[in-house]
Amino acid sequence: MSLNYQSVEDAELVTLAAEGRESAYRELLSRYERPVFSLIYRMVRNRTVAEDLAQEAFIRTFNAIDTYNPQYKFSSWIFKIANNLTIDHLRKRRVPTVSMHGAPDAVTPEAQARTSLVVQSHGESPEEYVQNRELAGQIEAAIGELREEYRVVVLLRHIEGHTYDEIARILDIPLGTVKTYLHRARAELKLRLAEA
């Protein structure tokens, strides 16, 4: 008799996957592809990069499926892996901040002109145009302007519906810090939306 994987709970699916059943892996993938991709996409704001990172998150999760501890929620585990990959990516990509009005030690107008940045407008490809439209709403733009730490707690709480405790586990930070980040993030969002 064939098993209906859609009605099986995550923990049991993981057990079946660890036994080598490919259908169990497929079901886990089908359940979490959208949430994991959405989280990463809203963090990195680039579809191609988000897909690569989501793929890597699933492969790492599946490779380590034997080590899954059923005391934790599977969703917390996969989001933890996805978040760490995303943070690693963002840290590697980060460049030193330079003011558009010139270097901090530029005193004379000549030095300021020499060290200032000129922002050029590059033509968008059709793909980039679609991507930018997806995240172009006021609220999405406001989320995109949040610090990474604040952004991820807002996404995990209000879009993925995790509890404060689960967020603390996923991000490996104290519960109080989660509350503080959420409070500040929502305050910033409210302010930005009021300004818009």
Binding site: A54, F58, E166, G176
Partner: protein, 314 residues
């Protein structure tokens, strides 16, 4: 909303213990029951709870210092009363002052953080009831709460995004590739180690490796039946034999090297290399490159599969 804290990390952390002790003082949180269940069976946590209880006890015994006489009257006489067209800053000062003076928090406005947590359903039942009571009576807090509720409602209806079509297939295909790569490397490692690949192979290998052990055991059993032979005498005899064999081997190798002229050629090459700094530097660079290439080849061929071991829990 809250889940079982004790089951996650094993023991109760400091936050959980403090929540538990708060619960004993009437501040009941959702995690309290699970923490109590854990505490009933865990002596380590019981000891830590006792230590925290002492801290709570000490704090509870701290006494309040009374302000100097007529302090309240002096302060109150300096500010405007409610109903006298207060500025918002002064009104807020009045509320805070009343709260401090009277010890009653019911009249004070709720902080933004408290309102957010109320709107998000994250307050304990007791705090939620207090907040609800206050909001029902305070138009200002009611309107601020509505603002937070609107923001949270906006966030919660944001869409989720789907990856491009065929994402699942690509993940499964890539995962199979990685799995095959990992298995291939494991096989290569096993081949390099000359490990048997089948049960029959293991039986054969076991038999072969047990034969010398059996032969040694048989000789030892035979020798133990000869009274003239002692363990010390046998060891000394074996040591002499081994020393003679090593000495003979060393002499043969040295003689072979000297006769072949290899030592002379090596000496000539070294003499040529150190004759000029350029040739010496080129030789050193070549040797270093050769060494790094060897290390890289070893790393690529017998190193453990990286994906299977890398940052699994990070």
């Amino acid at each position: 909303m809250n889940s079982d804290r004790s089951s996650y990390g094993g023991h109760l952390d400091d936050d959980a213990i403090q929540s538990l002790l708060d619960a004993a003082e009437g501040h009941v949180g959702a995690e309290t029951e699970s923490a109590r269940r854990h505490l009933a069976d865990c002596r380590g946590c019981q000891a830590r709870v006792d230590a925290w209880r002492e801290v709570f006890g000490e704090l509870g015994q701290l006494r309040r210092f009374a302000p100097p006489g007529r302090f309240a009257e002096r302060v109150l006489s300096g500010i405007e009363r409610p109903g006298e067209a207060l500025s918002s800053a002064r009104a807020w000062s009045w509320v805070r002052l009343r709260r401090w003076l009277t010890g009653r928090a019911a009249d004070a406005h709720l902080s933004g953080r408290r309102l957010q947590e109320f709107a998000d359903g994250a307050l304990s039942r007791q705090h939620a009831t207090l907040a609800k009571t206050h909001v029902a009576a305070c138009g200002d807090c009611e309107s601020r709460l509505a603002g937070w509720q609107r923001l949270i409602a906006t966030l919660e209806v944001l869409p989720s995004f789907a990856p491009a079509a065929g994402f699942a297939e690509r993940v499964m295909a890539r995962w199979r590739e990685v799995a095959e790569e990992t298995t291939g490397r494991s096989r290569a490692t096993r081949k390099w180690l000359l490990l048997p690949r089948s049960p029959r192979g293991w039986v054969l290998a076991g038999t072969l490796t047990s034969m010398p052990v059996a032969a040694f055991a048989a000789v030892a059993a035979f020798l133990s039946t000869v009274p003239q032979l002692t363990t010390g005498g046998l060891a000394t005899y074996l040591w002499w034999q081994a020393r003679d064999a090593l000495s003979a081997l060393g002499s043969s190798v040295l003689a072979a090297v000297m006769q072949s002229g290899a030592a002379f050629r090596a000496y000539s090459l070294a003499d040529y290399l150190i004759a000029s700094p350029a040739t010496a530097a080129a030789a050193a660079a070549g040797f270093t490159a050769l060494m790094f290439s060897s290390i890289w080849i070893l790393h690529r061929n017998i190193g453990f599969p990286r994906l299977a071991l890398r940052h699994v829990h990070n």
